[in-house]
Amino acid sequence: MNNLKDKIDALLMKVSKPTRYTGGELNSSIKNPEEVKVRFAFAFPDVYEVGMSHLGLRILYHLLNKREDVYCERVFAPWLDMEKLMRENDIPLFSLETKTTLDKFDFIGFTLQYELSYTNVINMLNLAGIPILSRDRKGLPFVIAGGPCAYNPAPLSDVIDFFVMGEGEEVINEIIDAYIDWKKRGGEREEFLQIVSQIKGVYVPKYYMEVYNQDGTIKEIRPIKKGVPEKVKKRIVKDFGNAYHPEEQIVPFMDIVHDRIMLEIFRGCTRGCRFCQAGMIYRPVREKSKEKILDLADKLIKSTGYEEISLTSLSTCDYSQIEDLVKKLIDKYKDKGVGVSIPSTRVDAVSINLLKEIQKVRKTGLTLAPEAGTQRLRDVINKGITEEDILEATKEAFSAGWTNVKLYFMIGLPTEMMEDVEGIVDLAYKIVDNYKEVKGSVKNLKITISTSTFVPKPFTPFQWTAQDSIKDIVEKQDLLKKKLKSKVLKYNWHNPYMSFLEAVISRGDRKVGKAIIKAWEKGCKFDGWEEYLNYDKWEEAFKEVGVNPHFYANRERSLEEVFPWDVIDVGVDKRYLIREYKKSQEGRITPDCRLYCTGCGVKDFDEGVVCFEASKK
């Protein structure tokens, strides 16, 4: 047993779910690493079944492997049983495809989807024997990161060599081309960082420094290297309709979280919900044509054999030809037993009709997201639906035979009062009455109410607001626990400590980054898994590095404050965010920008950017 593969095999005999680590799934890429110029490890800082459910990984993996000179392999955070065995047996973190240790790669590219996976980023580097601090690394590989959380690069600035802002489909190829060129010349590590700092969308943190005011807020983010941009602009795929979408998809052996075809039908969202970071940072809205989607669906079904196809986007029912698209897909594939699913349902009659259509092949649940319990608060967050919408939609659904409804709310929203929380209870009971009216009794009815805790995020109109204290959140959850006690109601809530940490990190600066490293040193990892979160360790870590977490989570900012993420330009104008913030305080709504342009600024962000609204004219 001398080679790594045999050693790994011996460990796999003892771990749970060994196919998390084996690779070899259908449509995974098999290449000879000797024959490529660049080896890229796509790293997802969570366990396999979570990471494999992520669309971005699937797109970039196949996109990179289309190139003959690149081999992209995958690596995930090993589950705790596997990590323990790996450390005991001195087995470094390895890629799934060829079982190569990560230090042999040219790039390790992390996707940052969730702040509570940051300790896993550090842990994975450490498991690979790679120094966790960028400045301690010599030679290869380069540790890079992208994804929605990268838009605030500050907390991981000491760890990541460079960040890639925005959509990766084009810029990743530019980076790789530059790399091949640099490698051929035999350049120094530092030289490559300088080269990429000139590529649009790339942020090299060591070329910038945070300068602080006396009160701990940021005075400025100062470029300290000549020639680097003052602000790094995110990348946008302009011709999204014809942009690369894989025609095949890896089919895992084990059951993963989203075990189905994922077909991205459009990018961006026009709704303008003020709490939603995705709705801001993925602008502008760009659709794929119906013909293109049908063609991709056909190829994906043939190449995977999956029994379900999910039409993904931030708000799938908003696709301009959604009814026709769903009908065509159902008609074409129902005999093969392939069902369609849509990840989120709008609260209106059209959506309920769509679900009825979808039911023809496979039973589907009804999930609605009113987000807030009262009309006042829904207006504050610009969730453009009314109570009548919700009641009508559920009534329609009950008449059509549904008996299970899931409702998603947030608590701790800006301006929220106890009566707004009570509004959640009222709404739940109105839906119960609704059911009684339609069916005559509450027989078989099951309503699941879930509340998440609001986390103010960068680049949203609520980036200035304070998060509720843990005490307030617990009080609100307790009220709901007490009042949602009924045979037909079930209440789920989020761990408030997790939401608090998420808030600290998401608006954190470089000082917060030191606390993350300290927390990892104390053994924190998988913080997003409630059973493994160790909040006491985090508290110690904050104390030891002298960071007050409440300064980041629970403080209202002034409009003039400089944010750690102000060095990044996501295309949505700060003036628009301020306007929306002010309107929220007045409880005024802003209509969907499919109706008319609300002036977020992304249209004028970059040459050639066309958003949905503009293309109609």
Binding site: M1, D9, P18, T19, V251, S303, G305, E307
Partner: protein, 217 residues
């Protein structure tokens, strides 16, 4: 509708796929091959696919069986070719033939042959004699866990053959032939019993198990 009996192999690359996952692998392969599989009637229809006895996770095979009922007139040979085009690397159907619709695979399976490779902890002398002594016993008991708790089970009646076929410095290879059926042990149970008998000379953590063949009636 017709029932096709298939002999398939699973090599090193896919040896960690569980029995349950394998069912999904075949279902999706059938869809890729555009072969219509028959479904059971009833409230919750499921595809009519049945497997022989489960293989231990981590084991390879070159002789496992499965039956698939198809709703179309396809020859076994065409079926085999179509499926092999779309199965993941490491899984292959090596033989396919039609059987009667009332011919249940589970009643046909009689036994299986295995090759088991295991690392040795200390040098072992005279293993062949020790095995003979071990096999001469009428009762070979192992501890089995069941719903009602742990109990001792005699596995001797299931053991048809056990012999060493290769001795290297740090590992042994055994040939094992077992009867299959209700209460049958797997080869690891047998080897563990042998290991206990000879005084813990094998490292049971490092083994390779391969099903050489399944014996049908």
């Amino acid at each position: 509708m017709k029932r096709l009996r298939n002999k398939y192999t699973k090599d090193e690359r896919v040896k960690f796929i569980s029995h349950l996952d394998l069912l999904r692998v075949f279902q999706r392969a059938l869809r890729r091959a555009n072969i219509k599989v028959a479904f059971s009637k009833g409230f919750n229809p499921h595809p009519k696919i049945s497997f022989g006895p489960a293989l231990v996770v981590g084991a390879t095979t070159e002789g496992d069986y499965m039956d698939i009922d198809v709703e179309e007139d396809i020859s076994p040979e065409e079926f085999r070719k179509k499926m092999n085009k779309v199965l993941p690397p490491g899984i292959e159907i090596v033989e396919s033939y039609e059987v009667e619709l009332n011919d249940a695979l589970s009643t046909k399976i009689k036994g299986a042959e295995y090759i088991l490779q295991v690392n040795v902890k200390k040098s072992i002398k005279d293993i062949q004699n020790k095995i003979e002594e071990f096999m001469k016993r009428d009762i070979i008991e192992i501890e089995k866990e069941s719903k009602s708790g742990r109990k001792m089970v005699n596995i001797r009646p299931y053991v048809l053959e056990l012999k060493v076929i290769y001795e290297a410095e740090n590992y042994f290879k055994f040939y094992i032939k077992l009867k299959l059926g209700e209460g049958a042990p797997n080869p690891l149970h047998l080897l563990k019993a042998l290991n206990d008998y000879i005084g813990d000379l094998f490292d049971m953590d490092f083994y390779k198990l391969h099903r050489k063949n399944t014996i049908l009636e």
